[in-house]
Symmetry: C2
Subunit: 336 residues, 2 copies
DNA sequence: GTCTATAAACGGATAGAC
DNA sequence: GTCTATCCGTTTATAGAC
């Protein structure tokens, strides 16, 4: 029992190295995209051997999942300040704007958590999908998908204290009094749940067709936001109009339906708090101004069209370095 | 001049081999996804050496672009039967359903043309984006992006006669009398244009806020459809509700706004023609039934979650074969 | 001894040169 | 067609610190 201190220190050191690994991995993903994330590159970045990584993570996939959890936490942190907006419709609009702003400000993170791999995306949504029906459904989809007990404790940006304040803010807010399932354990589900809560209140207030299935509405609404972000990240000439304008039109289409007086042209009503982006006028596609639309999120990802690591021998004759082929790692147990 | 026949035959043979290359590439993409497309694999499939491919295509990228053009043509072919629908709103709804059905029925094709690479997507949208303003803007974005004079002449599915009938149908239909720019040369732009034409008519009929920017509306509408497809392809648990239902809700949100009588619950009005999918009741996410929602499109892509080429030594301890890392191939010209 | 880190190696895959 | 250089994820045997 006199060696307690030593084992504690060792634990802390191990934890610290784990954080360093994740830091390096996060930097690589943000700078070069998930496709460029390799164990060897991480090892180089932290100046350890590749084998060391396997003392802390079972596989590259586990690192990716840990990064996903961080990304969800970061998105959740973007949502948290908005749960205080009283009017559900305005809250939903603010959430929508924040969602798009997040995706545009952190393209690589967004890609990772929502566009890269079904199992990554499903890890967050597995919890959120069934939420409107069952209460504590967090992490139900893939058991063991997010097993790292503290993977979400550090956001993509370390400056953002994510889950701790998020959990507090949610449970402290009387408006979001629906059960918030396992916020710290599944920030993805928690983020989805914030949206669902606002939607439920909207329907409870009779401002949504009562016959409407809230889940369906939420899924379609979310799909709209995702579509805007995804097209923006994928397609160089989208949107032609400023992003704010497109988001505004979409939010109007979804949230001004039941009002008998549509008041079509100017839709800016009261904006209860210091809310995200989207105050946009009619300027024409700021292009480089995208990151500025983000609200309190910092450290935007590097846009993916810039070559991040220009090797001395870069540049192929015609093509781009865009081939994402599955490489190696098929073997299970060698002959020994 | 006596060798005319010989040069003709050679031309034909070269063209035939070119088609075979594209056939093989298409099969690989549809079966294993774009990431698995490699020159060597194509060469193996057609039993030629890899070097031969470079006699017909400058690069893998050029093959990909040719496949993209085919994909756009295929999507356009899906749209063509719907331009006859008189009511613009109904036409837009049918187009939206067809769009989603296409994406779900041909996931790999959809991924390739809309989710894989910005330059691929941009090749179609470069022409379509400016269409509502300028008339003949096809292919304006990237000059030379779609230079293959006949790349679009064969659809992904050879059984679908695409551009020929498409061009005829469009120009024959008095409803789509807006200028159809270069249908055969840029089917992507043509497909987008069909949507824009319906939208313009909708606004001309006063069923859209006159102050609304049609381009913005179209972009947001398209983003919604893309979001539904993209989430469906990416996320295993989306949507919870049947796809038809989600699409229906989205179409209502976008197209039933100005109507003073929203008629929320049941939105099925007359469906003027043999229209795409979406007759769905309330059954619960058919999962394997996705392909059946496609209409006249055949040869649906293989869903991407099935391992297409199960190596004899498959299965790794923890991970999935999902690494899309750009493996190798950084070198440009070695020391020799 | 125990835990950590590493070098070396395995099996695989690719693009491009020859 | 083959062959080389390069890269990948992962494993194992070995060496060192406590």
């Amino acid at each position: 029992m006199l060696c307690m201190g030593i084992v504690e220190r060792k634990k802390r050191q191990k934890q610290a190295l784990r954080e360093r690994i994740l830091d390096a991995a996060r930097r690589i993903v943000v700078r070069e995209g998930f496709a460029a994330l390799s164990m060897r590159k991480i090892a180089d970045a932290i100046e350890y051997s590749p084998a060391t990584l396997y003392l802390h993570f079972a596989s590259r996939d586990e690192i990716a999942r840990a990064l996903c959890a961080e990304g969800y936490a970061q998105l959740l942190a973007t949502f948290v300040p908005l749960v205080g907006i009283a009017d559900p419709a305005e809250r939903l609009k603010a959430l929508g704007r924040a969602y798009v702003a997040f995706g545009v400000a952190h393209p690589q993170t967004y890609r990772l958590i929502f566009m890269e791999d079904p199992s990554y995306t499903g890890a967050a949504l597995g919890g959120a999908a069934g939420v409107s029906g069952a209460s504590g459904a967090s992490g139900a989809g893939q058991p063991g998908a997010l097993t790292d007990k503290d993977a979400a404790s550090a956001a993509m940006d370390p400056a953002v204290d994510t889950t701790a304040s998020a959990t507090a803010a949610i449970s402290a807010d009387p408006a979001a009094n629906l059960a918030t399932p396992a916020t710290a354990e599944d920030p993805g589900a928690a983020a989805m749940h914030i949206m669902l809560a606002a939607l439920e209140q909207l329907r409870a207030a009779g401002r949504l067709p009562a016959s409407m299935d809230a889940t369906v509405w939420a899924e379609a609404f979310w799909a709209t936001l995702h579509g805007i972000v995804a097209l923006n990240l994928t397609c160089p000439v989208f949107p032609t109009a400023p992003l704010d304008t497109v988001v505004g039109v979409a939010l109007d289409a979804w949230l001004n339906v039941p009002q008998p007086a549509p008041q079509q042209a100017n839709r800016r009503t009261a904006q209860p708090r210091g809310v995200v982006g989207a105050a946009g006028a009619r300027k024409k596609k700021p292009a480089a101004d995208h990151a500025a639309q983000a609200s309190q999120v910092e450290s935007p990802d590097k846009p993916d069209n810039v070559p991040p690591t220009p090797s001395p021998h870069a540049g192929s004759p015609t093509a781009l370095p865009k081939k994402p082929v599955s490489a190696g790692a098929k073997r299970k147990s060698p002959t020994t």
